[in-house]
C-alpha cells in the first residue's frame, strides 16, 4: 500500500510538471504580453515596456522561462522554502491573488458538488427503482436536455426567469401566488408523486389526490398568512418538519420494526425541538464559530444517544440518530435565517430585490451574521444552481445505471431469498455497492466543475479563480494563469488519487499495486 502511494505521488508530480510545461508554453505563445503598453499613449510607455521585460524576464524564451517559474513553484511544495509563483503584469504576487479568488470558487464548486451528488443520486435511485415509468422516462429526457444545455445558457435563463421575475414578484408588495399558479403547482406535484408511486391505478389516484391536495392547501395557507413577506417556520412548522424527519429517516434507514432506532431518532428530534426554544437568545449574538461548535456538539450528543440506545445493531441506530439530529438542527438554523429575511428585504441596499445576479456580496451592506449569511445565499444561489446542473444530469444517469446493474447481481437475489425486506435489500445491499463506481466518477468530475466555474463566474461576475484566469489570459499574463492551473490540476490529481484509494477501501476485491 505504502509503495503504491509513493509511486502514485511521484508519477503525479511528473504528470503535473509536464502538464504545466505544456500549459506554460501554450499560454506564453497565445499572444503578446506587452500589447496594452504598445497601444498606450503614455509618454513613458517605452520605459514601462523595458521595465516589464526586465522584471518578468520576457526577453527569455518561454521554454527557458518555464524553468525559472518551476523553481519558484517547487518552493511551494516543501514547507521551509519560500513559495514564489511569480507576479502578474502589475507586479502583484500571484500567491497574494490566489487565496481570495480560490475562496469564492471553492465555495461555489463545493456547494455545487454536494448538491449535485445528493440530488443526482436520489433521482437516479428513484429512476432505477421505477424503471420505464413515466418518472424514469421524464428524468431521462431532462438529463439529456441538461447534457445538451450549455451552462452559459442555463445561467442567463436563471438570471432572467428566476432572479428578475422573483424580485419583481417580491417587490410588488402583493406577494400572493394567485389561484391559477397554486393549482398548477399542485397538479405538477401530484403528477410527479403518482409517477413515483407507480403501482395500480387506484394507488396512483390516491397518491395524486393526497399530494396534490396537500400542496394546494399548503400554498393556500402560506398565501393567506402572507408567508413570503414574513417567512419563518415558527414553533408549529418546526414541530411538523422534525416529526417528518424522524419518521422519514427511520423509515428509510432502519424501518419501524427497529424500535431502538425510532426511540433514538425521537430523542434527537425532541432535543432539536428544545434547542429551537433554548438557543434563540444565543443565536442573536452568534458568529459562524458558535454555529460550528453547536453543530459539532449536536452530532456528538446524537452519537452518544445512539451509542447508549444502540442494542444489537448499534451502528444503524447511531446513523439514524445522527442524521435526524443533523437535519433537525439544520432546520432550526434555517428558521433563524428566515427570521432575518424581512430585515434583509427592507434594508435600503436590497430594496426588496433580494436575488442578486452579479457579484459575491452587496456592496455597503452590513449587519449581523444572519443578515450577511442571507446576502451570501442570495448571491451564490443562482451560480450554484447553474453549476449543479452540469453534473446533476451525469450523476443521475450513472446512479441509475449503477443501481440497475447491482440489482441484477446474484447477491441481491440471495438477499431476497433469505427473506430480507425490499428496504433492507436496497439500502444495505444495493445502495452501498452502487456507490463504489460513483466515487470514481465524482472525483474525476471535480476538474470539469472547476472548469465550468470559468463560465459561471463570468456570467455572474464573481471574482473567483475562473475570473482571474479569464482576465489574465486576455492580457497574456502567464503567471496568474499558471497559478490558476496549478491549483486546479493539483485538486484534480488529488481527487483522482483519493478516488483510487477509496475504491480500494470500499471494494475489497480491488488490490492496489
Amino acid at each position: 500500500m505504502l509503495s503504491f502511494i509513493v509511486r502514485r505521488i511521484l508519477a503525479s508530480i511528473l504528470t503535473l510538471v509536464v502538464a504545466s510545461f505544456i500549459m506554460y508554453i501554450l499560454t506564453a505563445y497565445s499572444g503578446d504580453p506587452l500589447m496594452d503598453l504598445r497601444g498606450s499613449n503614455a509618454p513613458n510607455a517605452q520605459l514601462l515596456i523595458g521595465q516589464r521585460i526586465e522584471r518578468l524576464n520576457l526577453d527569455v524564451p518561454p521554454p527557458l522561462r518555464f524553468f525559472g517559474w518551476l523553481a519558484g513553484a517547487a518552493g511551494c511544495l516543501t514547507p521551509f522554502t519560500p513559495c514564489d509563483l511569480g507576479t502578474d503584469l502589475n507586479y502583484t504576487a500571484v500567491t497574494q491573488l490566489l487565496p481570495n479568488a480560490a475562496a469564492a470558487t471553492v465555495r461555489l464548486v463545493s456547494a455545487a458538488t454536494i448538491l449535485a451528488i445528493i440530488f443526482g443520486i436520489i433521482t437516479g435511485i428513484v429512476s432505477a427503482l421505477r424503471q420505464y415509468s413515466a418518472f424514469d422516462l421524464g428524468m431521462t429526457f431532462v438529463s439529456f436536455l441538461l447534457y445538451s444545455l450549455p451552462s452559459f445558457l442555463a445561467a442567463v435563463l436563471l438570471k432572467e426567469f428566476v432572479a428578475i421575475d422573483f424580485n419583481n414578484w417580491i417587490s410588488s408588495g402583493d406577494s400572493s401566488i394567485g389561484f391559477i399558479p397554486t393549482l398548477v403547482v399542485a397538479l405538477i406535484v401530484g403528477a410527479i408523486m403518482q409517477a413515483l408511486v407507480a403501482g395500480s391505478a387506484r394507488n396512483r389516484v390516491i397518491a395524486f389526490a393526497i399530494s396534490g391536495g396537500a400542496t394546494f392547501g399548503l400554498l393556500y395557507f402560506l398565501d393567506a398568512i402572507d408567508w413570503f413577506q414574513n417567512p419563518g417556520l415558527g414553533w408549529g412548522g418546526i414541530l411538523l418538519l422534525i416529526v417528518g424527519i424522524v419518521v422519514g429517516v427511520t423509515a428509510v434507514l432502519a424501518g419501524f420494526g427497529n424500535r431502538r432506532a425510532l426511540l433514538g431518532a425521537g430523542i434527537a428530534g425532541v432535543l432539536a425541538y428544545a434547542a429551537f426554544f433554548a438557543l434563540q437568545g444565543l443565536f442573536a449574538i452568534s458568529t459562524i464559530w458558535t454555529i460550528g461548535i453547536l453543530g459539532l456538539a449536536t452530532l456528538a450528543v446524537c452519537f452518544v444517544i445512539g451509542w447508549v440506545i444502540g442494542g444489537p445493531d448499534r451502528g444503524q441506530v447511531i446513523r439514524v440518530t445522527m442524521l435526524v439530529g443533523f437535519l433537525s438542527s439544520l432546520l432550526v438554523v434555517a428558521d433563524r435565517y428566515l427570521q432575518s429575511w424581512p430585515a434583509y428585504l427592507a434594508s435600503p441596499r436590497i430594496n426588496n430585490r433580494p436575488i442578486a445576479t452579479v457579484g459575491e456580496q452587496t456592496v455597503g451592506l452590513s449587519g449581523d451574521m444572519w443578515l450577511m449569511g442571507l446576502d451570501t445565499f442570495t448571491h451564490f444561489l443562482l451560480p450554484t444552481i447553474s453549476l449543479t446542473l452540469i453534473s446533476f444530469a451525469g450523476y443521475t444517469r450513472y446512479a441509475r445505471a449503477g443501481l440497475l446493474e447491482v440489482m441484477n447481481q446474484d447477491y441481491i437475489r440471495t438477499a431476497r431469498a433469505k427473506g430480507l425486506s425490499e428496504r433492507v435489500v436496497i439500502t444495505r445491499h444495493a445502495f452501498r455497492n452502487m456507490l463504489i463506481p460513483i466515487t470514481t466518477i465524482v472525483a474525476a468530475d471535480i476538474g470539469v466543475l472547476l472548469g465550468g466555474a470559468l463560465i459561471t463566474e463570468r456570467v455572474f461576475a464573481i471574482s473567483g479563480m475562473g475570473a482571474l484566469f479569464n482576465i489574465s489570459l486576455n492580457r497574456v499574463d502567464v503567471n496568474p494563469v499558471m497559478g490558476y492551473f496549478i491549483v486546479i490540476a493539483i485538486t484534480a490529481i488529488l481527487f483522482n488519487f483519493l478516488a483510487d484509494l477509496s475504491y480500494a477501501l470500499l471494494d475489497p476485491r480491488v488490490r492496489v499495486k
Binding site: A11, T15, Y147, L153, I164, G451, L454, A492
Partner: protein
C-alpha cells in the same frame, strides 16, 4: 450466443447488418438523425456554402436599416387559428441592434457548429483511436508512455486548455479552431479504445491472424479495430455533442470564433444584455445550440443500444420473482 433476442428474421445476417437494423428501427434515434440532417441541410441551403449562394437574400454581416425595432417577422400560426398566416417575412429572426439580419447570422452559426462537430470530433476520434489502439496492442513500455501522455492531458480541464488554444487559433478561422480543439479532446476515446484492445488482443482470432503471418498494422486495423468499432462510434457521438457545447462556451467567453464570423455562443454573448428588450436575439441562437446537441445525444443513445442490445434488456421486475403472483397469494 446466449442472446435470446435474435428473431428468425435476424438469422443469417452479418453483425454490421444487425446493428444497422437495430439502429434504423429505433424511432427516437432515427427521428433525431433525420432532424439533425434537416437542420444542417436547411442552414447550408439558406445562406449557401462558401462561394455557392443560398436561397436567402441577406448575408450575415452587412448592417441594414432596422424595421420595427428589429422584431422577428417569422409567423408560424396559421390564419384559421387566429395568427397571421405562415410566412417568413423580411427578417424571420429579426435584426440585431445595428440591423444585421439575424436569420442569416444564426444560420451561419449553425453551419459553424457543424464544421466544429465534424472536425473536432473527427480529429479527436482518429487521434484517440490510434493512440488507444497502439497502447492497447503493444502494451509494455509503449503503453506506459502513451498512457502517461494521456494522463498529462487529462489533468488539464478541456475548457481551460481549450480557452488557451482558442485564444491562439480563434482568429485563424473556424476550421483551425476546431482542429486545434480536437487535438486536446482525444483522451477519453484513447482510454476506452485501449481497454477494448487489451481484452480483444487476447482472443483466438487475433492469435489465428498472427499465426497466418499478418503484420501488426493489419491485425490492428483489419482484425481488432472492427470489433472495437462500437466503442469508438458511441464515444465519437458523445464527443460530437460535447464539441458544440465546448465551441459555444469558448466563443461565449471570447476565446473561440471572433466577429465578423458567427458562432451561436458569440451571438448569445453579444446579445444577452438586451434580453429584456430583444429576447429573440437570445432565443434563436439558444434553440439552435441546444437542438443539435440534444439530437446528437439521442442518436448516440440509439447507437449504444444498437451496438449493445443486452444493456436494455434488463427489467427490475423480472428479478423480483414474479411479484404479481406473490401478491395474489398473500
Amino acid at each position: 450466443m446466449t442472446n435470446t433476442a435474435i428473431s428468425d428474421a435476424e438469422v443469417g445476417q452479418s453483425q454490421a447488418r444487425l446493428i444497422f437494423r437495430r439502429f434504423v428501427t429505433n424511432k427516437t434515434a432515427m427521428v433525431s438523425f433525420v432532424l439533425l440532417i434537416a437542420i444542417f441541410g436547411f442552414s447550408i441551403s439558406a445562406i449557401g456554402l462558401g462561394p455557392i449562394p443560398g436561397w436567402w437574400h441577406y448575408n450575415f454581416y452587412a448592417p441594414m436599416p432596422t424595421a420595427d425595432e428589429g422584431r422577428p417577422t417569422l409567423s408560424i400560426i396559421p390564419e384559421w387559428l387566429g395568427g397571421s398566416g405562415i410566412s417568413l417575412g423580411d427578417h424571420p429572426f429579426g435584426q440585431t441592434r445595428i440591423g444585421v439580419d439575424y436569420f442569416a447570422a444564426t444560420m451561419r452559426g449553425v453551419q459553424n457548429s457543424f464544421v466544429v462537430i465534424v472536425l473536432l470530433a473527427g480529429v479527436a476520434t482518429v487521434l484517440g483511436t490510434v493512440v488507444g489502439a497502439i497502447a492497447g496492442y503493444y502494451r509494455g513500455w509503449v503503453d506506459a508512455i502513451l498512457m502517461r501522455i494521456t494522463d498529462v492531458f487529462i489533468v488539464i480541464p478541456t475548457i481551460v486548455v481549450g480557452a488557451v488554444v482558442g485564444r491562439m487559433t480563434g482568429g485563424l478561422g473556424v476550421s483551425f479552431l476546431a482542429i486545434a480543439l480536437g487535438l486536446v479532446a482525444w483522451m477519453g476515446i484513447a482510454r476506452l479504445v485501449r481497454a477494448e484492445f487489451l481484452s480483444l488482443r487476447e482472443r483466438e482470432f487475433v492469435e489465428a491472424a498472427r499465426v497466418a503471418g499478418a503484420s501488426d498494422a493489419r491485425i490492428i486495423f483489419k482484425h481488432i479495430l472492427p470489433n472495437a468499432m462500437g466503442v469508438v462510434i458511441v464515444a465519437a457521438s458523445l464527443i460530437a455533442a460535447a464539441a458544440i457545447l465546448l465551441e459555444t462556451a469558448l466563443s461565449y467567453l471570447g476565446y473561440g470564433i471572433h466577429a465578423p464570423e458567427r458562432s451561436l455562443g458569440l451571438l448569445v454573448s453579444e446579445n444577452q444584455s438586451a434580453f429584456s428588450t430583444r429576447p429573440w436575439l437570445f432565443w434563436y441562437p439558444a434553440f439552435f445550440t441546444v437542438a443539435p446537441a440534444l439530437l446528437i445525444n439521442f442518436i448516440g443513445d440509439g447507437l449504444r443500444d444498437a451496438f449493445d442490445p443486452r444493456q436494455k434488456r434488463f427489467s427490475i421486475r423480472r428479478t423480483k420473482e414474479l411479484p404479481e403472483t406473490t401478491e395474489q397469494r398473500s
